[in-house]
């Protein structure tokens, strides 16, 4: 086994965290920088399976804004078992792994290798930044490969990088000829991947921090909001039971900037209103819906918003008469361009409800 060490600074890290321990939004708890392991593997094949080996594992640790990357190279196949044990010891089994697509790929491969070498597989806490990249940039970037994120988000495009598909053959060539030169571009590529992980980590943390404290300035220049998909992020946070999502989505609706699509704004309003209804704040829900449904006049969302609003009026505010008024008004507006059978049925039902109530009151 060979070890390759290198060090570099991570842009933005020290700006964000001065202390060694800090609150991480990605993990939802206090972490020590030393407990984060930025991990990436290079393998002898891309399709997985028992015959695909991990030949290069790298782990990065950040201290005082600088990352130290240690890359472990498997010298030859027969040493795999010792290699794995040593590498896992070095990474430490209790650290938090941070990877890019590592949940589906790297961690599964390490598991496979452990099974084949009769070593207990590790079971770390694992933050896979690919999922975050997809949430934040899938609709903004052409794809979510790490190199696209690097150039499109981190602002540091790579040049002269080896294509991933050539990597296995470089290793086989190295094994055959024992010429470390063949591996140089692979090692460099791998090192860059790990440094980028840390850079991406702090970037995502920073975005989450702005969400956590909307309006408040972070201790550095804030990341411009249009650089990530606040609708998708808000939606995800809300689905994950995080109330910060509602605030973010509210801001999506409030902002009528050109960078946010109209459909996203109405969808955001809908989600926010539902959230408020569910959490027992019909007043807040009404405030959103009253504005939103008229704004959405020419969108398919209009019907959803009206239905939501009508439900709110009928069930939460116990005022079917107002609900009926709303539906009648909405139908006048929307029947021209939407198939609002929904509204028609609702109108009939509300009429019966209103008549029944009037009957009781009389």
């Amino acid at each position: 086994m060979y070890e390759i060490r290198s060090e570099e600074s991570i842009p933005g890290w020290s700006r964000r965290w001065r202390a060694d321990a800090f609150h991480s939004h990605l993990t939802g708890r206090e972490v020590r920088a030393a407990d984060l392991s930025f991990i990436d593997c290079e393998t002898t094949g891309l399709s997985g399976g028992a015959g695909t080996l991990v030949f290069l594992v790298g782990v990065g640790r950040v201290t005082a804004g600088r990352i130290e990357v240690v890359q472990y190279l498997l010298a030859d196949f027969p040493g795999e078992r010792d290699y794995l044990e040593l590498v896992l010891d070095q990474i430490g089994r209790s650290t938090v792994w941070v990877s890019y697509n590592g949940k589906a790929f790297d961690a599964r491969l390490i598991e496979t290798r452990c099974v084949m070498n009769a070593i207990a597989p590790p079971s770390p806490t694992h933050i896979d930044l690919l999922y975050w990249a997809r949430r934040l940039w899938r609709r903004i970037l052409p794809d979510c490969s790490l190199s696209t994120v690097e150039s499109g988000v981190l602002g540091c495009p790579r040049d002269a990088d080896i294509p991933g598909i050539e990597i296995p053959d470089r290793y086989f060539e190295y094994l055959k000829k024992r010429d470390a030169g063949a591996l140089e571009p692979v090692v460099e590529h791998h090192r860059r991947d790990i440094a980028s992980l840390a850079h991406l980590f702090v970037t995502v943390e920073e975005i989450l921090a702005t969400v956590a404290a909307p309006g408040s300035e972070t201790d550095g220049p804030a990341i411009p909001a249009q650089r990530y998909d606040s609708y998708q992020l808000g939606r995800w946070l809300l689905a994950a039971g995080d109330p910060r999502g509602a605030g973010l989505l509210q801001s999506v609706f409030d902002r009528s900037s050109e960078s946010i699509g109209a459909e996203d704004r109405y969808a955001a309003a809908y989600l926010v209103a539902r959230h408020h209804r569910r959490t027992g704040r019909p007043d807040l829900a009404e405030a959103v819906l009253a504005d939103a449904w008229r704004a959405a006049e020419s969108s398919a969302w209009c019907v959803h918003l009206v239905v939501e609003y009508a439900k709110l009026l009928e069930h939460d505010c116990r005022d079917p008469a107002r609900a009926l008024e709303l539906v009648v008004a909405a139908r006048r507006l929307t029947d021209r361009f939407t198939a609002s059978g929904d509204l028609e049925r609702r109108e009939q039902r509300l009429r019966r409800a209103v008549t029944a109530r009037e009957g009781r009151e009389r």
């Binding site: 094949g45 399976g49 028992a50 196949f77 084949m116 296995p168 086989f172 055959k176």
Partner: protein, 766 residues
């Protein structure tokens, strides 16, 4: 079964029919042999069985149970309807009630079979509330269900292809299953013959190797139809000692087996009524008497033709087609269509079915009364299995073998004692075939570094060294490691062409429905542009065969013809491995490249099958690298000397006719299907510089048939000569060397020419 008994009686008194019968064999009913349920059977399992009305076992089921309990690997020979599934389900379920963490792997040759199997097992599991989890794991299993299947499935049902490409290469994901693997069931083991069997034997080697890695050594339970060498075949595939359980304890009703040679329509040329027409006539007669009938036919096109003709004969709007429903059944149908036909046969709503050998396998279609075999299926074992599709436990049944004009059919129907007296064929497997072995060694090295050779043969080391030279494996510190970025199992197909199917899409009137599929080589010969494709009686014309995207677009049509491709084959010697003078010729064994090209097709009118035109076909040629045994009529050989005395215009056709004789006779000696071998003759072979006759393996890479042919050349040629001599025709007929063909311009009869060549050649040396 009064309908059938009446129908049999009627046939027996029908002089025209009886004139064509060369043998009417009555196989008496057989009583069952029973045994009590095993004493150690768990109470829930016993209760479950008793609830299903099973309070005793057939003797072979009991013997299977005992063997499995003693962890003896065994093969049980099970004719149709002999309660096969209980032979393995009983010991496996018993083990699972004792030890729920135990695991069993069931391997069925096809996906269709595994689904049937699961239905049957679920029945047992649910009925008995045994809470045994049975899971099908094949290409159709949704990815989201796979992880839980691996984790919790106690019985996993799969097929060899999935085991090969999905399970073994990913064995670390299967650790929990493999660590507890106690039983491996290989059903329908008789289907693993020839190339497919050689592949299967290597997949089993890989499975045993991986099982050993996880510390398990499962017991193998194999089930076979009646073949000549069930124990030997199972031992060749599993490569361990197998106990043979072949005493069948299930009862069977009386069976009538009739060998039928269609009447001659041209005495001089020896032309008989065609097998399609006769099968249809006989099936109709039975169906109209209320007899549930299955017709087996030898090709997909014939299956559709016969079903179509039967339905056309029945078509009558006023009586609802006499309330008789007949379906075609073959490979290439959608699974849902197959399921619905199978269901219809079981519940009795379908009265007749015309099938390729697809229904010969153990798919449960319930009991039918009669089987019509449209042509001898090429092997005694298949013939009995197809005949066995008719008949239930206690009722009389009928099977009629309708001979075609093919020499092999004529031989069988004219020699009933040969047909009836002959033991079913043996299965032939060559697990050490270098091509197949090499492919599986790649997979094995990928799965686990190769250190201990066992269970692979000695020759593996040479193969591995060869693989190292090509760079895909690396030998270091006494082990071979996989050093290629590919996933080798993906490049190895266990079947000749199953892996890349062409999807057939119906685009009539803007539709875009997948109606079927076909393997690529067959597609080139059957669904080329302008071909007629028949699917469950509906006709389509091919508008576009897009081989690159594996898509064939068809639209519905009502043409009055079907199409038949003219295939040209070309053969080239790549290298000679062996040359030996034997049986009066030089026999060469070597690698050849066989190319086939469809350039034209015939349009044949329905019913009459007359040729009403030709069309051009534009598809790329199909190439196959294979093995061949080549009979070279060289200088100084007896064959060469006799050939030189013949006029070249006579010699060419004579050699070609010997080729077709060999193709039709050799299967009996080589224990293969006629489709497994191809023949080609050359009057002046460019490689050998003299006349030559190629007998080659029809599977890529070869299966050892060429080598086997070489050791049996003498009896095969003698049988060809005897068949020709004994034939009563004057000038040659479809039963021997083939009828006279005016285009050959042979002055004398082709029969005389073949006899002169073959007789002179074989008797010179004696």
């Amino acid at each position: 079964m009064q309908n059938l008994e009446a129908a049999i009686d009627e046939l027996r008194h029908d002089e025209q029919f009886m004139a064509c019968v060369t043998r009417w064999e009555r196989i008496p009913a057989r009583d069952g042999e029973y045994s009590s349920l095993p004493a150690d059977l768990s109470v829930p399992l016993r209760d479950a069985l008793e609830r299903r009305g099973v309070d005793r076992l057939y003797s072979h089921q009991r013997a299977s149970y005992s063997a499995a309990r003693e962890r003896k690997s065994f093969v049980v020979v099970t004719p149709t309807a002999s309660g096969k599934t209980l032979c393995y389900n009983l010991p496996v379920l018993q083990r699972l009630t004792e030890q729920p963490s135990a695991r069993a792997l069931y391997i069925f040759p096809t996906k269709a079979l595994s689904q049937d199997q699961q239905a049957e097992l679920n029945e047992a599991a649910i009925a008995g509330e045994l809470a045994v989890k049975v899971v099908t794991y094949d290409g159709d299993t949704a990815p989201s269900l796979r992880a839980s299947a691996r984790e919790t499935g106690q019985i996993i049902i799969t097929n060899p292809d999935m085991l090969h490409t999905g399970i073994l290469p990913n064995h670390p994901k299967w650790i929990k299953f493999l660590k507890q693997l106690e039983f491996v069931v290989i059903d329908e083991i008789h289907t693993y013959r020839g190339v497919f069997g050689s592949h299967m034997a290597n997949v089993v080697r890989r499975l045993r190797r991986i099982a050993r890695f996880y510390g398990t050594d499962p017991t193998f339970i194999c089930c076979s139809a009646t073949i000549g060498n069930p124990a030997d075949l199972a031992e060749r595939i599993v490569e361990r000692k197998m106990l043979l359980i072949d005493r069948n304890g299930s009862p069977a009703g009386e069976k009538h087996l009739i060998l039928y040679n269609p009447p001659l329509v041209d005495q001089v040329q020896g032309i008989r009524r065609g097998v399609v027409r006769e099968s249809r006539r006989l099936a109709l007669r039975l169906l109209r008497s209320g007899v549930k009938t299955i017709v087996f036919s030898r090709s997909r096109v014939r299956t559709e033709l016969i079903a179509g003709y039967i339905n056309r004969s029945l078509a009558n709007h006023y009586n609802d087609n006499e309330r008789i429903r007949v379906e075609a059944y073959r490979g290439g149908y959608l699974p849902s269509e197959r399921r619905s036909i199978e269901r219809g046969l079981r519940d009795g709503s379908i009265h007749g079915v015309v099938s390729t050998n697809a229904l010969e396998l153990g798919i449960d279609i319930g009991g039918l009364d009669a089987a019509v075999l449209g042509g001898y299926p090429g092997s005694i074992a298949s013939a009995w299995q197809q005949a066995g599709r008719a008949g239930r436990r206690n009722t009389v049944s009928l099977a009629i073998v309708v001979a075609s004009a093919a020499p092999l059919d004529q031989f069988m129907v004219k020699h009933p004692e040969y047909f009836l007296g002959r033991a079913p064929e043996s299965g032939f497997v060559d697990a050490d075939n270098p091509y197949i072995l090499c492919d599986h060694l790649k997979c094995a090295v990928f799965e686990l570094p190769f250190r201990e050779r066992d269970p692979f043969p000695e020759s593996s080391i040479d193969a591995l060294d060869y693989l190292e030279e090509s760079g895909v494996v690396r030998n270091t510190s006494g082990s071979y490691y996989w050093t290629d970025r590919s996933y080798p199992a993906e490049g190895v197909s266990l079947r000749s062409a199953a892996s890349d199917n062409v999807v057939i899409v119906d685009a009539t009137a803007g539709r875009n429905d997948v109606i079927g599929e076909m393997d690529r080589p067959s597609a080139k010969e059957m669904i080329f542009d302008n071909a007629i494709y028949i699917h469950r009686g509906r006709q389509f014309i091919v508008t576009d065969l897009d081989l690159e995207n594996r898509r064939c677009t068809v639209i519905e049509t009502d043409a009055n013809y079907f199409t038949d491709a003219l295939v040209k084959r070309d053969i080239k010697v790549l290298n000679e491995d062996q040359r030996e003078r034997m049986s009066g010729c030089d026999l060469v064994i070597g690698d050849v490249l066989v190319r086939s090209q469809v350039s034209k097709f015939k349009k044949l009118r329905y019913e009459t099958h007359e040729n009403i035109g030709y069309g051009d076909v534009n598809v790329p040629e199909e190439e196959m690298h294979t093995r061949s045994a080549i009979l070279v009529f060289g200088d100084g050989t007896d064959a060469g000397a006799v050939a030189r005395d013949l006029d070249p215009s006579v010699l060419g056709p004579a050699i070609a006719r010997i080729g077709s004789l060999i193709k039709n006779v050799a299967p009996v000696f080589l224990l293969c299907d006629p489709g497994d071998i191809g023949v080609a003759e050359r009057l002046r072979d460019p490689h050998f510089g003299c006349p030559a006759l190629y007998v080659y393996d029809s599977y890529p890479g070869g299966t050892g048939l060429s080598e086997s042919f070489a050791t049996r050349i003498e009896p095969i040629l003698t049988a060809c000569l005897d068949l020709t001599r004994q034939c009563t025709c004057e000038q040659g007929c479809p039963s021997c060397v083939g009828p006279r063909d005016p285009e050959e311009e042979i002055d004398e009869s082709p029969k005389a020419a073949v006899l002169q060549l073959l007789d002179g050649w074989l008797t010179r040396g004696r």
